[in-house]
């Protein structure tokens, strides 16, 4: 698997992944009906880094990395990951997450924070914990899950300091 900066040529592949993840409505607080245009504007914002994970010539995952807050909060990064549904449980998420930790360090961030990890997304939470993230906050019922109703959301945090 190769992980690299995403380019305009990846837009179709990124949109396909974005759309199937967001349309499922069970992990992201984004409008499941978000248009291609809105989605790509959101995922390729000029103040973020956007990456693509390629396997056998096909983009199977994408992630973004950015400052979580402006100015006096800009030393903490934020990231979001999406893996094509038919490529899940094959190490794509882990590979991107490890790449992300290394990129965040390279860019000088002191920590990474996930603001909105849906508590039913147990595979992701397991992976983040293995990679050193801790749950530092619990938002009661903050996500309306399509099957489970209102479920808790976690804030997860990992220091990047030596």
């Amino acid at each position: 698997m190769e992980i690299r900066g995403a380019t305009k040529a990846d837009r179709d592949a990124v949109w396909n992944i974005f759309h199937e993840i967001v349309a499922s409505g069970d992990t992201y607080a984004l409008d499941p009906k978000m248009s291609r245009k809105e989605a790509l504007a959101y995922w390729f914002r000029s103040d973020m880094h956007t990456y693509a994970a390629e396997k056998d010539g096909r983009v199977v995952g994408t992630y973004i990395l950015k400052a979580n807050q402006p100015a006096p909060g800009s030393h903490v990064a934020n990231a979001a990951f999406m893996v094509a549904l038919d490529a899940q449980c094959a190490g794509v998420g882990r590979g991107m997450a490890e790449h992300c930790l290394s990129e965040a360090r390279r860019l000088g961030f002191r920590a990474i924070q996930f603001n909105f990890v849906v508590s039913t997304n147990t595979a992701a939470i397991h992976l983040w914990k293995q990679l050193g993230f801790e749950i530092v906050g619990t938002l009661p019922g903050a996500f309306r899950h399509p099957e489970n109703g209102y479920v808790d959301v976690y804030v997860m945090f990992r220091s990047l300091l030596p």
Copy 2:
């Protein structure tokens, strides 16, 4: 004190308050050098409600209220408050906060979340606790305070359900 929707006529007053609060750099993760144009675009965004608190014919405080997340997270509100430095400790913040709780209920939100309460902002934290907010998360060193260096930040949450 009257609290009402802010209008274009309040822009100068809002900018004066916004600027002195943000320039002090000790409570908001916003660029202390944010321009008037950027500040007003941020504070009067079309998807938010913006309010002004008036006392003796003068705007002494302002707050915003909006959904904290899109779509499956949009039942939780987010709010931010600013009080003119020379009007602090006179109940303006409390008055706006009570107004905000009532507005959030009226708009159908199920809860309010503050994403980024700087731990050294003890007066605000005291007020939020009195109004029923709880610290549900702690972000280690997530704010670079101009005097104290890296300080913790709290996520605070209050249910609006009966």
